[in-house]
Symmetry: C2
Subunit: 188 residues, 2 copies
């Protein structure tokens, strides 16, 4: 059974990661390089579901949207769902400044995927990965706050120091994708 997945994102890095994982399981992927309206919410699943419904109305069944954020424990979850905005304004430098003198450097990357099937049924899949914030940015891969995120299960490198394939072993986004693949009967 051939699936076609319409990946809706304006972020080339996100497209690259999603495409790599989904196409390796035999899914045909289409890149709809557009922005969809996003809600303000502290719940990624709520945000991506509302955007998914708008995308389904525009582009029909098979749409896939992903939203993610970096949640820093000592900062009450900041920047959370507004990570892209915070990255564009105060950036990595600003986030590191907020962490100066803070002992607890725990952070979580979280991801939520909304997939709306050709028959219109809505599914949400989430994934997360625990890590710590690096003292200084390292690496040029990935996007957003990847240069300062060191996954707890890794070897001490930041997400930005990994290839797409390596990041996909650990990442929040990959974990959400795994659940989607299982839902589609494409694992094992």
């Amino acid at each position: 059974m051939a699936h076609v997945v319409k990946i809706v994102t304006s972020n080339p890095g996100k497209w690259e990661e999603l495409y790599t994982m989904l196409s390796s399981r035999g899914l045909d992927c289409i890149w709809i390089r557009e922005r969809v309206r996003e809600l303000q919410s502290e719940d990624l699943a709520e945000i991506v579901l509302a955007s998914g419904i708008e995308a389904y109305e525009k582009w029909g069944g098979g749409v896939l949207l992903e939203d993610s954020g970096l949640f820093v424990t000592a900062l009450g979850g900041f920047p959370g769902p507004y990570s892209a905005y915070v990255f564009r304004t105060i950036g990595v430098k600003g986030l590191l400044k907020l962490m100066e003198g803070v002992q607890d450097r725990e952070a979580w990357f979280k991801s939520a995927i909304c997939y709306i099937s050709p028959d219109g049924s809505q599914s949400i899949f989430t994934g997360e990965v625990k890590g710590i914030l690096a003292a200084e940015p390292r690496g040029t891969g990935g996007f957003g706050f990847d240069p300062i995120f060191i996954p707890a299960e890794g070897d001490g490198r930041t997400f930005a120091q990994m290839t797409v394939g390596e990041k996909n072993l650990y990442s929040h986004r990959a974990r959400a994708v795994q659940k989607l693949l299982k839902h589609l009967g494409l694992t094992g």
Copy 2:
């Protein structure tokens, strides 16, 4: 001609300011103490219009919604439309930490009001006020980042050191309200 304005906000401070200004011009005000969904956008007018349309569908004509934010020039406009979230997470302390060692302390409070009349016509009114960020929080009035905002036209006090009436002489929100009152034929 008697107007009834349905003010939709979950924020008691915002209700108080809006009620004080509107009722003094003879408008009957109703407080709908509810949250309405908000879009992610860097444009307050776009956010408040989308919320206004949802509010109109729920509560009918005469709804008024206001959205506002603190835009810090040296931080690329941060926290901007996400001021309430940033206040809840990193707070005044976090914002001051980001400003440590930064010479340019200019900031703007911006406001956008959406009013949808009984016949369904949509209007947007905006207001802004320039100021500087204080080195330390002062005062207990107002809400959000008011304790660190010193309006340029004032006497050196922060918004949080003023009464509601004093703040309404200078504020971004009051300037947006003035435009609404003019639109309703209630000035002069």
